[in-house]
Symmetry: C2
Subunit: 480 residues, 2 copies
């Protein structure tokens, strides 16, 4: 057993040496997901799926308060529907999977597996919307989608993934735009409050926006290695879909008008964000609010009289208030268990052995700081609650500090290249608004524009790239 103990954490690639391999190691070894025989698609294992369930519960409760109604539309979309909005089909055609045979017969019209469902929702909305009294419609579906990615990575870019896609129709432009931003704020809350990852909010540049949108808004996050991850998006469509799909309504003045539309989504990609924002060389590190197990009880010298009983008693009490687990495995040492639960990112570990029982105490170990403290058994329940809160806050603050440390400003291209090569992270610049400058920056630095942040700063008067008059401030970063 001792051999296994020693090698346990060593099995995980060093996070500073090879972040990509570290990530894969964590996904597999912490039992979050596994590869499957369907190329580019993963199996989400119980431990990973429970994280998703916690995200779903938290987000869905917020959606429902806003008045979102869940629905379910078909996974298969006829080709003719997908083709109705020109930009949309251009964007998605290269990455869809087509069903051509059903019930042993060649289909007359092929059906794609939804890569996203704007076309299907719009078709239904055109049936459901007649009068202003039918509006707004604020719907959402939790479902699977499929995009035929060439290069895949568990959670971050998988051919099939799980997500929610909200789709809404409104009477006015203003109401639709407000809803678009309200959902973006909801995403910020979910990601910051639940996942303890600070987000940057802003609008995507035209080049980076969703195929068919008038405007795409984004919540951007920064990972351990300084790369950016787009964590959620919210799109304002104006009448781009309502016109080709004929979503018309009689307005309050009795005139026919095309409605205004939005869509917005977050996905199982967020599990990847949690891994990459918080993990370290010991493995996964889960924010308490989203952790499937918040506190694990590990008995020491478990075979000795009274130990298992006392540990179970503690577990039962904790489990009433928190998501608790007790590790009674008899085929591995406490040391192995410590490593194992640290690797799985459990926020708090409680160790309890014969001497602790004698003294009426237990050892409490925090995953975030690895600090140990002795806690009186009759104060354990309260202390665990307090420290779970502390861990949640501390993990957010650590990410926030990194974000600040890794955010730099550049006023010319040399500075830009230097900053991003030294530091990765976000680079803030002024920008003239032209696609050509965006392309040039991408080519030169590998960084994409993350967004035009809502919090605009004045960093100068000229574009970082062409030196001409700047229109706006942009944040850039290399991305997942």
């Amino acid at each position: 057993m001792s051999n296994k103990d020693n090698n346990f954490v060593k099995d995980i690639t060093n996070i500073e040496e090879d972040f990509a391999q570290w990530y894969t190691d964590i996904v597999l070894k912490a039992d979050l997901a596994d590869y499957t025989d369907t190329k580019g698609c993963i199996a989400i294992k119980p431990y990973g799926y429970e994280i998703w369930e916690n995200i779903q519960k938290y987000a869905d409760a917020k959606f429902k308060k806003i008045g979102v109604k869940n629905i379910y539309l078909p996974v298969l979309i006829p080709e003719s529907l997908l083709n109705k909005e020109k930009d949309h089909i251009e964007g998605f055609a290269p990455e869809v999977a087509w069903v051509t045979i059903g019930g042993q017969e060649e289909l007359e019209e092929k059906l794609c597996i939804r890569p996203t469902s704007e076309t299907m929702f719009s078709t239904m909305f055109s049936k459901w919307v007649n009068s202003w009294r039918d509006l707004p419609i604020i719907t959402n579906q939790w479902c699977n989608v499929l995009r035929w990615e060439k290069e895949t990575r568990p959670f971050l870019r998988s051919r099939e993934f799980l997500w929610q896609e909200g789709h809404t129709v409104h009477e006015t432009e203003k109401e639709a735009q407000e809803l678009t931003l309200k959902m973006l704020d909801t995403y910020k809350e979910v990601i910051e409050e639940l996942l303890a990852i600070p987000v940057l909010q802003g609008r995507k540049t035209p080049k980076e926006q969703f195929s068919g949108a008038v405007a795409t808004y984004t919540v951007e996050t920064l990972m351990h290695d300084g790369r950016a991850l787009q964590a959620g998006t919210s799109h304002y469509f104006g009448q781009n879909f309502t016109k080709p799909f004929d979503i018309k309504f009689q307005n309050r003045e009795g005139k026919e008008e095309y409605a205004y539309q939005t869509s917005w989504g977050i996905s199982t990609r967020l599990i990847g964000a949690v891994i990459m924002a918080h993990g370290d060389n010991r493995g996964l590190k889960l924010p308490p609010k989203v952790a499937p197990i918040q506190v694990v009880v590990v008995p020491i010298a478990q075979h000795k009289e009274g130990v298992e009983e006392k540990a179970t008693e503690i577990y039962n009490k904790l489990n009433e208030k928190y998501r608790a687990h007790i590790d009674l495995r008899d085929n591995c040492s406490p040391g192995y268990k410590f490593n194992d639960w640290e690797m799985r990112g459990i926020p708090i570990r409680i160790e309890i052995g014969p001497r602790d029982i004698e003294n009426g105490v237990a050892m409490l170990v925090r995953r975030d700081t690895l600090e140990k403290q002795e806690v009186k058994l009759d104060e354990l329940e309260e202390t665990v609650g307090k420290i779970l809160d502390e861990i949640q806050t501390n993990m957010f603050n650590i990410c926030k500090e990194r974000l600040e440390k890794k955010t730099t400003t550049a006023t010319n291209l040399d500075e830009f290249v230097k900053n991003i090569n030294e530091n990765q992270g976000y680079v803030k610049t002024m920008w003239c608004g032209n696609d050509e400058c965006e392309d040039k920056i991408k080519e030169l630095t590998g960084a994409h524009s993350r967004c035009i942040p809502f919090n605009q700063e004045h960093l100068g008067d000229t574009c970082v790239c062409c030196g001409k008059k700047a229109e706006t401030m942009v944040v850039w970063g290399r991305q997942y």
Copy 2:
């Protein structure tokens, strides 16, 4: 408005005249679902989807108590995997949809959209199972599946539907068999407690069992028109999948052994069961526990001073304890609203007008009996709770009485034909165990064997069909 009022319920086909059309009317007019441009696939609208969410919540909580872990596996299954178990592929090949193009290229191996996921789960289990210490694995996924049905009907038989599919692996035959039956009991609880529909439990005859199973167990329900609906199934596979998929483990004696497997599922079909078991000529009738809205408040003379305020006050109070709704529409009459909410099956309606407010009372109307009673406002909250319970029980009892009334016994074929033609319903008979008799009964009567009930009765010594020695008692019925 008055015209619309009068015609409102008349728009629904009479339930005794054309049950099939009545069903379609309810699905569409109660806003449960709608047809889509994808042939054979429906859109589940908010009101229908909320019923599904309530079923999910109730079942999932029971699953989790049993130790079921949710996971998610790919929607696409490579042809080679599907082909591994001979009976399974024979059963499902005619009804699968095939993806042949992905990312604009013809695929080397075609992929089917899961009609069920035994093959995918088995492939993963073969990776995850090595030692008896890895067992049991008790997993489940909530997901969409697709079967290329020729004739479809909303909820009852849709090409795509939503379901949960549980898949488990065990060390011993005994443990696997016990789990199979435990899940069947869980289904009975969900359907009887939540949906207020009594079930008949038993084992399917070999002809009716799942492709690849050793034994299929079923929960059968009886609809308003006396036809049967299979509401859930639980399968024991023995080693039928573990052998071709090589799911081996080292047992406690250190020897390699093939594991034992089960699977079990319920689906959005249950929404169809709720409609058809409880509905009447006024429309849908929802059991309180599964109803998205349990109580609706309708103000009378809403424009008069104080009415809307009082109605809102009542609504707010009820909404703290129950799923409540207030109907403040200003473009339809109270009469229209009464019909509308009855048609949507809301268990309790509260009417409140100026005179009621003066007298400190409200009118409470039950959807199940249509009885009205005056309730003092300060007793309303308590009374609503009590009556919701009564409605739940009463609805179950009504179904139970119908079930008993529509269950008959036949000892020969003439009796069988007479009973089922007069009465529809379940026909109980003795059976010799031969497929030929089962086929003959189906041909002659249109009835399928529902199951070999766990509660066996001795109805005679000879088979209802051939007159030879009977082996077992079987329940038969025409089905959905």
